[in-house]
Point group: C2
Chain length 261, copies 2
């Protein structure tokens, strides 16, 4: 079903900064033929996944997405559950907190609470977080099935910033440390001047389903602050996992206590 995946791939180019895209532009971005792109867009439009502005002929995300999101949220209200936890985490740490859930081969941001400080990290709503370059992704990978990790590491790791770790062996070391500590930290691996600290969210089977993270301007980060945030993030992750009906593995709670000491 490569056709379906290609069509859905088009949706990935709509973001906060590019809410509306033209046919040629979208074809160029996706590296597909214009005719193919047009056919896929009409198919998406028939399903309401995108809609075309009659005046400008530009495409944007459609109302079906809102409809499906309402159903998902009505039946599995994760974002509503995460919001107060993120608010508490942002208040406690004084920094921007955000949560993300696994969506195929990456994490999808599903909640942000910005810090009250004037100098703070902004996180675009609906941002896609690569597993290898972000603290959230690393926290997720650190507790993921080894086969899945191997699959992720087998693919080329894009250098998003100069500091992104692109060497699989080096990343494995970081993941081992994250697994030992119960949290991951990544300095400017995804955005320059942003330091992320994240812990995994666990599902009912003890498998990671997402991550919860705090993003701090790199210049403000110190060893002391790092420890404080790590403890807060891990506690929030445990709270959030349980709120969503999940359960952290038995040994995860121990890690938290060890870290607190």
């Amino acid at each position: 079903m490569q056709t379906v995946e290609k069509a859905l791939y088009l949706l990935d180019f709509f973001d906060d900064k590019h809410p509306e895209l033209g046919l040629s532009e979208l074809a160029r971005l996706a590296g597909m033929d214009k005719a193919t792109t047009h056919r896929m867009l009409t198919a998406l439009a028939r399903a309401g996944m995108v809609e075309q502005q009659p005046a400008t002929r530009l495409y944007r995300l459609g109302a079906t997405i809102l409809r499906l999101a309402r159903i998902r949220e009505a039946t599995f209200p994760v974002t509503a559950l995460l919001q107060p936890i993120l608010e508490a985490l942002a208040a406690e740490t004084g920094e921007t907190a955000h949560a993300s859930l696994q969506a195929g081969p990456s994490l999808a941001n599903v909640g942000v609470v910005e810090s009250a400080r004037s100098s703070r990290v902004f996180v675009e709503p609906g941002l896609k977080l690569p597993l290898h370059a972000t603290a959230s992704g690393n926290a997720f990978l650190a507790f993921s099935d080894p086969a899945f990790v191997a699959h992720v590491l087998a693919q080329p790791l894009a250098a998003i910033t100069p500091d992104t770790i692109t060497d699989p062996a080096a990343l494995r070391e970081r993941l081992a440390i994250a697994r030992r500590d119960g949290f991951a930290h990544v300095d400017q691996g995804f955005e320059v001047e942003v330091y992320g600290i994240a812990a995994p969210l666990f599902g009912p089977g003890g498998d990671p389903v997402g991550a919860i993270a705090v993003a701090t301007p790199t210049h403000r980060m110190t060893g002391e602050l790092s420890g404080k945030i790590a403890r807060a993030v891990m506690a929030a992750a445990v709270t959030a996992s349980r709120a969503m009906g999940g359960e952290p593995p038995q040994d995860y709670q121990m890690r938290l206590e060890r870290n607190a000491a």
Copy 2:
């Protein structure tokens, strides 16, 4: 791109009452082969549009939908704009108010505020409203492009309840009346014991983009109440259209005043 449409069609079977579906069940509902369904589901899962519960192997709507909805809402915040208008409308009429937007060949519910009464109409979040059977759909059609209306009426009109109007000619008459009055009313055309009154939402070009409606238990409906609700719904529709950056056609405002008299 029939493959894409078929794959997206699978998403339509997830609703409030069926948040998780199995492979065989989904194949049966969609009338597709199990192997085909499975491949489509894996394609959808790779894009994060659905996700599979590891324990039960059931599928449900995925986190990508939440991600895309956040982007759409961050860039075109319709549901946030509609919510207070629906609240005011529900308060004013004492009945359940809801709004929907066009999503392909039907309307997608994107907001509900329930009445405070103990006897009230429930509207499932994310409900798909057929154009021919609902007040919202009729209001939308009444102000739609004639070619689009012809296209909708050319297809078979499903009898959802015994009272659903399935005759194209009869529906055209209803639409003409709705166009004259500025609002549509449908008694038990979609759900038994539910009486709907709706007015269209207009986009920047004066074209309808959705509808706003009030749903009342049929037994409570009287001529007097009907008139009161119709006026409130039309006023709310004009307010909402403008809030979304749209503009009702010049003559629509006149209809509202005529109706008030």
